[in-house]
Subunit: 199 residues, 2 copies
DNA sequence: ACGGCTGATGTCAGTAACTGTCATTAATGT
DNA sequence: ACATTAATGACAGTTACTGACATCAGCCGT
């Protein structure tokens, strides 16, 4: 175990550690308690023991607290698509990557449920969610390009994959039967195949 | 469909007519000249001969100027889907409606090109565009329900249709060959069928 | 041990998006 | 004629966000 890596575990200098994490926690709590619009950045900062200015050093805006994790998701999806076996068709590489990522979500389901409840009741937050998904689609298309897939196949496969993910995620959040996210993804994908099947 | 007839027959003497139209024109011009962020609402209002407060009476926010027309598009698409022949499969009803709407866009291509140039360089505007498209998808799914289509077929067909439209629209904006929007829609749809075709 | 540098935070002033509220006034209706 | 209404103005207030500069504990080279 490398102690060096965690050498700031107790005092990260003269301030409390993990300012970003404290801000995130404070924001999630307040958004949940009073709603997004009824929460001011000043309140978040105060609860985290910091100032408003510091909040904006960690998050580009008030919404971003809920979405900065999407960056890591994107990286893992891209890696998975790039690493898929050569034999996999574009859409299958995408769906496989989504299923793998879905397994990670599965572990923090309760957190996802709460977060989604905040997002669902606010138009601004839904906007931000959509653009994150769009970026994901673009990144996935880029990953497909690295596999030699050309346009418009790459974009369509990526977009279709994101569509499947979105619908599957929504169903998973509402699901009371205990079915897991990867399974919802598989089922939604099968549905899409049926719907688009040429006659 | 067709032109909006916005008249203020009854109060035409006191103020210049068509305040909304003047605000829209002023905003489009300024967004084009200096960019969206570099334009203040006060400037827009001034060019339109009105006040900032009046701007916010017509448009809920600074972005909405570019998107309020989406409401009419949505209505016409829903009508078209509902009116499609009973024999049409869900996805075909959606695509047919999009092709018809696409023909309307075709007439004002230059306007679409300019508007899109403003939107493309600004993240906030892209966010708003995405949520309008998402609303469109929801409305289309609703229209399919009225045709007796069930979930998840309706949502998937609607989402797939919007995906096709988005990609087709993008290609049409960039197109220099003169191919028309409905044709791009048809081609993108055929691509999607190919991409999602099970092996 | 000294002093300078760095990096995370604080302080403060400013801009501009948006909202609430009340005032104004031409046109309308009775 | 007079009350009413609809579109707009006037104005103050909140808050998200930005830029500039100050502070100060720990690190590093000497």
């Amino acid at each position: 175990m490398s102690v060096a890596v965690i050498k700031y575990d107790r005092h990260m200098g003269r301030w409390e550690a993990d300012a970003r994490g404290r801000l995130e926690q404070a924001a999630l709590a307040l958004y949940g308690e009073r709603g997004f619009e009824q929460t001011t950045v000043a309140e978040i900062a105060k609860r985290a023991g910091l100032t408003e200015r510091t909040f904006f050093r960690y998050f580009t805006d008030k919404r971003e607290v809920l979405f900065w994790g999407a960056g890591r998701l994107q990286e893992s999806l891209v890696s998975a698509v790039v690493a898929a076996p050569d034999s996999a068709a574009p859409i299958d590489a995408v769906i496989a990557a989504l299923e793998a990522a879905g397994a990670v979500f599965q572990e923090g389901r309760e957190h996802s449920v709460q977060r989604q409840a905040v997002i669902d009741v606010n138009a601004e937050l839904r906007e931000r969610e959509l653009i994150k998904l769009a970026r994901l689609a673009t990144a996935l298309a880029g990953a497909l390009h690295r596999r030699g897939v050309r346009e418009p196949t790459a974009s369509l496969a990526a977009e279709a994959g994101i569509t499947v993910f979105r619908i599957a995620f929504e169903r998973w959040i509402k699901d009371t039967s205990g079915r897991e996210l990867p399974q919802h993804i598989r089922e939604s994908f099968d549905e899409l195949k049926t719907v688009t099947a040429g006659r």
